[in-house]
């Protein structure tokens, strides 16, 4: 389990505050939020790259150490290695630091992804860089996979292949954990167990995806059916002439009979919770 308690990270012009967050072992957790919401900062904090001003980040009850890092695979939004280097330099680097490194698995993965080790990193496309990182992350058989915006910049076909591959990886062993940040919410609807929504450096909610789908609905109707009391219960609402579309948390508010109720996608939830009610900054329990 990854545990964050009373964490405060202060960066130039941005701060991340997390009172309490428990990421359970054995599940896929999707972290969503707008660009600049704090997803990458959260990942860097979890990975020990960003040092919080206060608070604890614990992995299986202890601060992140070298032994724990051996069990983590990471994929970032870019391949952070000198662009002039050839891909084969990465194999040497990773092989020398991971005791569980599997050379033949790495070769197999690169071949299946069509990545040539003879190429320089700067010659790789965004998708190829991502696949290389995935191969690097998987070749030492990690228990936890941390991914920061891995699908950003990938075309829809590659994204689907990528999500399918992650699903296979999770299905292969029960104790594996996947933490996956993205602002492309449709990726997560296919396979996430939990959704963590971050906005403006704060956790809006962290809930099982079933509960998210159960609780949040879109309602549509005409404005003359709305009282002032009704308006206050929206998590977010958008007006178009005499029509409105709003997001409601069903667990706390009833829905009027004359409203049209629709399933809210993660994108709808993200939109209404972070854009429409941005100033209110409500936190959902």
């Amino acid at each position: 389990m990854i545990q964050l308690d009373n964490v405060h990270v202060a960066l130039k012009g941005f701060d991340l505050t997390i009172d309490e967050l428990r990421i359970p072992k054995g599940f896929t957790v999707g972290c969503i939020g707008r660009n600049g919401a704090g997803k990458s900062t959260l990942i860097r904090t979890m990975m020990g790259l960003t040092v919080p001003a206060r608070g604890d980040v614990l992995w299986d009850g202890a601060p992140l150490d070298v032994a724990m890092k051996e069990r983590i695979g990471f994929v970032y939004d870019d391949l952070y290695y000198p662009k002039e280097f050839k891909v084969k330099a990465l194999r040497r680097l990773f092989r020398s630091v991971y005791p569980t490194w599997n050379d033949s698995l790495y070769t197999e993965l690169l071949e299946s992804y069509g990545v040539s080790e003879k190429k320089k990193i700067k010659q790789l496309s965004k998708g190829m860089k991502m696949k290389t990182q995935i191969a690097l992350a998987l070749a030492h058989d990690p228990d936890v996979l941390i991914m920061d915006e891995p699908t950003a910049g990938l075309d829809p076909v590659v994204r689907r292949q990528f999500v399918a591959m992650l699903r296979d990886w999770m299905d292969a062993r029960e104790d594996r954990t996947l933490f996956f940040s993205t602002h492309i919410t449709s990726d997560l609807e296919r396979f996430a167990d939990y959704i963590l929504l971050i906005d403006d450096g704060r956790v809006k909610f962290f809930l099982p995806i079933d509960e998210v789908e159960e609780r949040f609905v879109l309602v549509r109707g005409t404005t003359n059916t709305l009282s002032e009391r009704d308006q206050a219960m929206f998590e977010g609402v958008e007006w178009r002439g005499s029509q409105f579309t709003g997001l409601i948390d069903r667990s706390t508010h009833p829905i009027a009979d004359d409203w049209i109720v629709e399933r809210a996608s993660l994108e709808d939830i993200l939109y209404f919770l972070t854009e429409v009610t941005h100033d209110e900054a409500r936190i959902i329990d």
Partner: protein, 228 residues
Amino acid sequence: MKRALSIEWQTWRSYGGLYLLIFLFPLLFGVTFFGPISLFFFIMIFSQAWYNEQANVEQLELSLPVSRDDRLLARFLMYPMLLIVLGVASIVFVFILTQFAVWKEFVGPDQVASLTSGIPSIAFAWFGGMLLVIGLLLLVYTVFSFKWATIFIGVGYFLSIGLLLLAANVDMESNRTNGEVSGSIEVTGGWLSQLPVETAMLGIGTLGLIVYVVCFFLARLSYRRKTI
């Protein structure tokens, strides 16, 4: 620690071909070997720092299973190790070259003599001096950024020249009129001139080593809290 050194080594190894060219080029043209190695080292440090900062390599490296302390120690250990290896390699290289008559003619006999004389006495001072500059450079780069390291080396370069001229205050005129010709180098005038050459060399070498170690500990304090 082995892993941290390995990370450091992989970077050096990937630049190997380029570095070899830079290293061999001035040597082949017969410049004294401490000069090219010094130049070579600063090119290496700067190119690495620049490439690393451009590619944000630290984000990847610090995600690997290596502690920050080990990572920094490896960085600080690699330079003295390479200085020793390259210093020894250069001496051997120059020695071999001096055995070839063609090269002697190409470079000139005076240059060959200057290349092969006085090596032990200045090697330690050179080693310490290099460590002093590299240590300060690594400290600035670790605590701040590549940009500040560049400014540091630029300002440091001009300051060093100025200070050396000021301290040495070599009275060339006086030497010429007295007709002093001796086996030892004696600098007249200024506080530096009061020191025997051997003592000055030992002092510079020791000072460099001490500064290098201090730089490591200062850099470590910052590196432990460094946020990416």
